[in-house]
Amino acid sequence: MTTHPNTPTPTPDILLDIYRRMIRIERNDDATRRQIKLGRLRMPYYSARGQEVIPSAISAQLTRDDTICTIYRGIHDMVAKDMPLRPLWAEIAGRVDGTCKGKGGPMHLTYPELGIMVTTGVVGSSMPIANGLAWAARLDGSKRVSIAYFGDGASNIGAFHEALNLAAVWKLPVIFVCQNNGFAEHTRYENGTGCEFISTRAAGYGIAGETVDGNDPYAMYAAAHEAIRRAREGEGPTLLECKTFRFMGHVFGDQDKYMTDQEKAEALAKDPLPAFRAHLIEQGIASEEQLAALQTGIEAEVADAIEFGLASPFPSVEELRRDVFATEIPA
């Protein structure tokens, strides 16, 4: 693990906070896959295992009011932003106590209280909406920043281009965070994207852009720090390309046949979680016991959320007529 040359260096507290978010994401992801395998959950699941550092290093620097717009592969982004796990689990189980009363499900989790504003299933669509939230922040006279999370594949769709250009022209306090895991479904980065680094595209909008090792908490922390500063100080948008890997393939059940075993093994060997854990201990930032206790606490939180979620009742059929408009649709 290398330290990023840019200032500032994260304090031990911040490093621990990043780790806490990472392990909370990972434990929750592990539990989700386990519950699906057990047949207790039925849903399409896009695991973000391996991508924990990115939203954790960012969220450690966000306030409650800063907003995010994310995608189907975005539960890690939400958990990093402190999404409570009970309504999360109730939602993915399709229950009435879910964040969306079971209507949205895992691809559309929403929790505006904590700035988790939109989760989209359409590639690219988080970005144009994040601009509007950034505009609202500025209109409010607040220093709120707006984050749009998306994948490498999404950087090839029209919405990316329109959103980055509008953000540039309007100088919006928005950060476009591309989680480049090297694949779009089964398509390898280089087979879908004309340029070597997505961050290159920033120049085409006259905005700041950077490629970061998305598995390196220090590098991610520093890059996010600068982007957030820029946004809060009215200096406009940033495009961050964060290189990472999705350990579980595109969707739960994916056989990863479009990559070689060796390639996959190499990527898995770069698992950021054990590496960061070891680093924290090695540097004396935390003890083995401390981290174990943290993990136990999180596991208890997850276990509680699962039971809460699966015990919550299903919504009633009348719900089909509610929330279409503010006023209920007549029967």
Binding site: V118, S125, G132, D323
Partner: protein
């Protein structure tokens, strides 16, 4: 219709739209206006409809945009989620085709998909209509698509007072609305009450009372129905014209009450007839009033083709008053 004189001013639909925007922005600081060329630096809109707004309300509440309709609607949605009431302009209705994901998958659905947490009170203003020889990519009436999309209201004014009142309601509405302007109605003058306030969405207007047949229409085709009704009157046929004002959700009560009375209905719209909005209305009438109808419900709309450029074809493509007269006569026998 209350007694007493209503003080009115004569203005065009465009002036009415402008008046509504000024009024809404004045009253509610959360109202935003944006779209291509809408600010005064860019001339206040290519038609001048938004002229003066940015000068009065500032460059942050009234913004011109790049040519990027996905970005426009996306920004509207995001600002709405942030507590604002954006009025976004898509210059012409055909250009909604590049923003359908934002409108349909996001604006219309976020409230439902979020279980009621996310309101998206945006207003999309757009312009369309044949008759100006702008041909196949600049004149489509695509309202049927939005009517078929759950979660967005489709509003179609036919006269200046309605332009003002309906736009005020769209802006105030807690849900997304698309309001469709047409060249033919936007520049025609009409009387607008001095204190014209919001006109409720989802409620039709009886444009003309009659007894023999109900003409159900909206937008510029109301003018065509008015001309037809005048001719029919000369032929001894009394037409009731219903101006839907809102095409989705439409005013079933008003339509069914009128057709129950007249026993005959003709639905008239500019959109292509096949799978057009008129089909829903005709299908509903026959279902609800089976046995009470004196004749089948007729539908008039454009033939199944793109809008043609050349004048004679464009005229033939558009429903004309004579077509309405002929349709009514065919069911009077």
């Amino acid at each position: 219709m209350s007694s007493g004189v209503i003080e009115t001013i004569t203005m065009t639909g465009q002036q009415a739209v402008s008046a509504a925007l000024f009024e809404a922005m004045e009253k509610d600081s959360k109202v935003l206006v944006f779209g291509e060329d809408v600010a005064d630096r860019e001339g206040g809109g290519v038609m001048g409809t938004t002229r003066g707004l940015s000068t009065k309300f500032g460059d942050e509440r009234v913004k011109s945009t790049p040519i990027a309709e996905q970005a426009i609607i996306g920004a509207a949605i995001g600002a709405a989620l942030g507590g604002y009431k954006p009025v976004a302009e898509i210059m012409l209705m055909n250009f909604t085709t590049v923003a359908m994901d934002m409108i349909v998958n996001h604006a219309a659905k976020l409230r439902f998909m979020s279980g009621g947490q996310s309101a998206v009170p945006i207003t999309i203003r757009t312009l369309t209509g044949a008759g100006f020889q702008t041909a196949g990519q600049h004149a489509d009436h695509l309202e049927a698509w939005f009517c078929h999309t759950a979660g967005i209201k489709v509003v179609c004014p036919s006269n200046p007072a309605d332009y003002k009142g309906l736009l005020l309601s769209c802006i105030a509405d807690p849900d997304p609305c698309i309001i469709i302007e047409t060249g033919k109605t936007l520049f025609a003058p009409g009387e607008v009450p001095v204190d014209q306030g919001p006109i409720p969405l989802g409620k039709a207007r009886i444009d003309r009372a009659g007894t023999d047949v109900t003409l159900i229409s909206y937008s510029s085709m109301v003018l065509v129905c008015q001309a037809a009704a005048a001719t029919l009157e000369g032929l001894g046929i009394s037409s009731e014209i219903i101006d839907l004002r809102t095409v989705s959700p439409w005013d079933r009560g008003a339509v069914l009450a009128s057709v129950r009375k007249t026993g005959r209905a003709v639905v008239v719209h500019e959109a292509v007839r096949s799978f057009g909005p008129g089909a829903e209305i005709a299908a509903t009438i026959q279902e609800e009033l089976f046995g009470a109808l004196k004749a089948p419900v007729r539908r008039l709309g454009a033939p199944y083709s793109a809008v043609p450029f050349t004048k004679p074809l464009e005229d033939a493509w558009l429903v004309q008053p004579a077509d309405v007269v002929a349709a009514v006569q065919s069911i009077m026998k």
